[in-house]
Amino acid sequence: MKALLNNSFLDLLRTQTVAGRQLRELLLLTVFLVLIWGVTALLSPRFLSLDNLSDILVQAAPLGFVVLGQMLVIVVRGLDLSVASIMATAAVLSIGANDSIVSIVILALGVGFVVGAVNGYLVAYRGVTPFLATLATMIVLQGIRFAYTKGAPGGSLPETFRWLATGDIAGIPVSLIILAVVAVAIYWLLMRSKFGYQIRLFGDNPQSAYMSGVPVRKIQMIVFVISGVLAALAGLFLVGYVGIVDNWTGQGYALDSIAAAVIGGASLRGGKGSVAGVLLATLILVSLFNIVVILGLSVEFQLVIKGTLIILAAAVYLSKSRD
């Protein structure tokens, strides 16, 4: 506490408080990111060009939205396997049915909301394991999506949409501005609000949270709804970035978002999560993909690196949480 009061950064870094630990984790992630960027820049000067760096950031935005929601779910000891399915279903249904951007956004977020609510209901009120509840909704959504499109999604993307996902305001990509707004909101929600205090307490110890009068069912429900809505938003951005609507939009995002959340310091045992950490981890994962392409390695290397990184990160955090 003394260190906190002195407000000395170095002191804080050494303390055994939660804040000190989180700061050390962030530092570790930043060092790793700088390291891989540095090595790549040495091997290929093209990597550090402004175009390429902004490309990495824009690519990272959709995963960033998903990861923020996923992290909240993981904080309450859950898992959301349905995010990728929500991304594709929200995008396919809303763009297939509409032309105007407002109705597309409302419809897509509505889909995310409903699916999140179903997940939340199953988990909070029916006592289903999050893993199974979201696995089931993932499969059902997949069926609904394909049955609706009969395998070939239609509809066209409004121009404003492409601009939202790929354009920029004064050199700063629009998607990044929106991601920053959402990240700040989630940070406030998790670290500064009563709701955030409740979900962290629930993640730490569900029983004591219940005893202390935390509305445990309601908060689980809300967290899954947030995750669903953010996934739907991510789906729209990804479709806008890629330029076409596909039934498999966002494939792999479910596991990637869990990986990024874990690398970013969220623990599957609940109660731990950091907005800055998971966003850094997202950047690391997306950078790896870019690096593999820039260095001309075969794309499969990305899988090998990613898998190793996931296990290593989890192992590192474990050994640290023990002391």
């Binding site: 898992l79 396997l81 199953l122 029916r126 006592g127 289903v128 394991t129 893993f131 199974l132 509840a133 696995l135 089931a136 909704t137 993932m138 499969i139 059902v140 959504l141 997949q142 069926g143 609904i144 394909f146 049955a147 009969k150 395998g151 596991l255 869990i258 990986a259 874990v262 599957l268 045992r269 075969s298 499969e300 290397f301 990305q302 899988l303 090998v304 690196i305 990613k306 898998g307 190793t308 990184l309 996931i310 296990i311 989890a314 192992a315 474990l318």
Partner: protein
């Protein structure tokens, strides 16, 4: 720990049998559902209730049955194995990469593939048990790595296997596919092992309460490594069978099996938290799901709707079983 009833009455014999197979009332429900699907299929398509079609279903369920068996063992121990996608792909290209044309190479290839499967599974187990990382993360990570390695090895289906081996895999005894008979033996063996062996008893103990098991002197870590190794071994068996069926090693052969393997385990009544359930439920659930898929196919229901049905089955199953998970 478990004694055999010495009673001579029929009821007592039934009880013994129920205990050995861990039979429970839920299994009647699954059997009832199987009969319902059977009736539905017979009404919906005249090709469904033919002997030829039933043998076909038996052929088709072999891989899912083996993988679901592996998943059952891991889940019983309180873990989860999501590495089958990468595992099957790598083991398939590895086995087919031997291009075995004579018996000697074939025996070597089979032995090497089984060893590699057990070794890779063992790695999952070591990281889970000794480093203490959540099995979800471990197996997710290894699956990603193994998928990468399989695709680096060969980007498209490659390799081959002797024609006589394919004949063995396709062989039928009085119409019944050899693969199906093999699976039945495998399930019986595993059920017996879960019932009588130290390993089986320890598996339930760890799944039920790891701390209690540790205190009671159960070698928790070694048992965990062993169960993941067995899971890898079974994945190798499935991979060998797949190569025998396709005649070629497909690096993408395992896609989807990581999550598909969980459905029959859960529908069969095994708790995801571990320690409760058994292989009989998984076997019945595999039969139910395979028959359902076959019936829907013959009734020309597109696979899109089959996904919806599969998801709803999971929701129904877990909602029904929810009372048991709140132990």
């Amino acid at each position: 720990m478990i004694s055999i009833d010495q009673g001579r009455s029929f009821k007592a014999t039934l009880k013994t049998w129920a205990r050995a197979t861990r039979f429970e009332s839920l299994h009647w429900v699954i059997i009832g559902l199987i009969l319902m699907v059977f009736a539905l299929g017979s009404i919906g398509s005249e090709r469904f209730a033919t002997l030829a079609n039933i043998f076909n279903v038996q052929d088709q369920l072999v891989v899912l049955a083996i993988i679901a068996l592996a998943q059952t063992l891991v889940i019983l121990s309180g873990g989860i194995d999501l590495s089958f996608a990468g595992m099957l792909g790598l083991l398939c290209v590895f086995f087919a990469g031997f291009n075995a044309q004579d018996t000697q190479t074939l025996a070597l290839a089979i032995a090497a593939t089984l060893a590699l499967g057990a070794f890779l599974g063992g790695i999952n187990g070591v990281i889970t048990a000794y480093v203490g990382v959540h099995p979800f993360i471990v197996t997710l990570g290894t699956s990603t790595v193994l998928t990468g390695l399989a695709l680096l090895h060969s980007n498209q289906p490659s390799g081959s296997v002797a024609l006589f081996f394919e004949d063995v895999v396709y062989a039928r005894i009085a119409g019944v596919p050899c693969g199906f008979i093999f699976v039945i033996c495998l399930y019986a063996l595993t059920a017996f092992m879960l019932w009588r062996s130290n390993f089986g008893i320890r598996l339930y103990a760890i799944g039920n309460n790891e701390v209690a098991a540790q205190i009671s002197g159960v070698p928790v870590k070694q048992t965990k490594v062993l169960v993941y190794a067995v899971s890898g071994l079974l994945a190798a068996l499935a991979a060998i069978y797949m190569v025998g069926r396709f005649g070629v090693g497909d690096p993408r052969a395992g896609v989807g099996f990581d999550l598909r393997s969980i459905t029959p385990v859960i529908v069969g009544g095994t708790l995801l938290a571990g320690g409760f359930g058994g292989v009989l439920g998984t076997a019945l659930a595999v039969i139910l799901l395979s028959l359902l898929a076959n019936a829907l196919n013959l009734m020309n229901v597109s696979s899109f709707y089959q996904w919806i049905v599969e998801g709803l089955i999971i929701i129904c199953a877990v909602s029904v079983l929810v009372g048991r998970s709140k132990k």
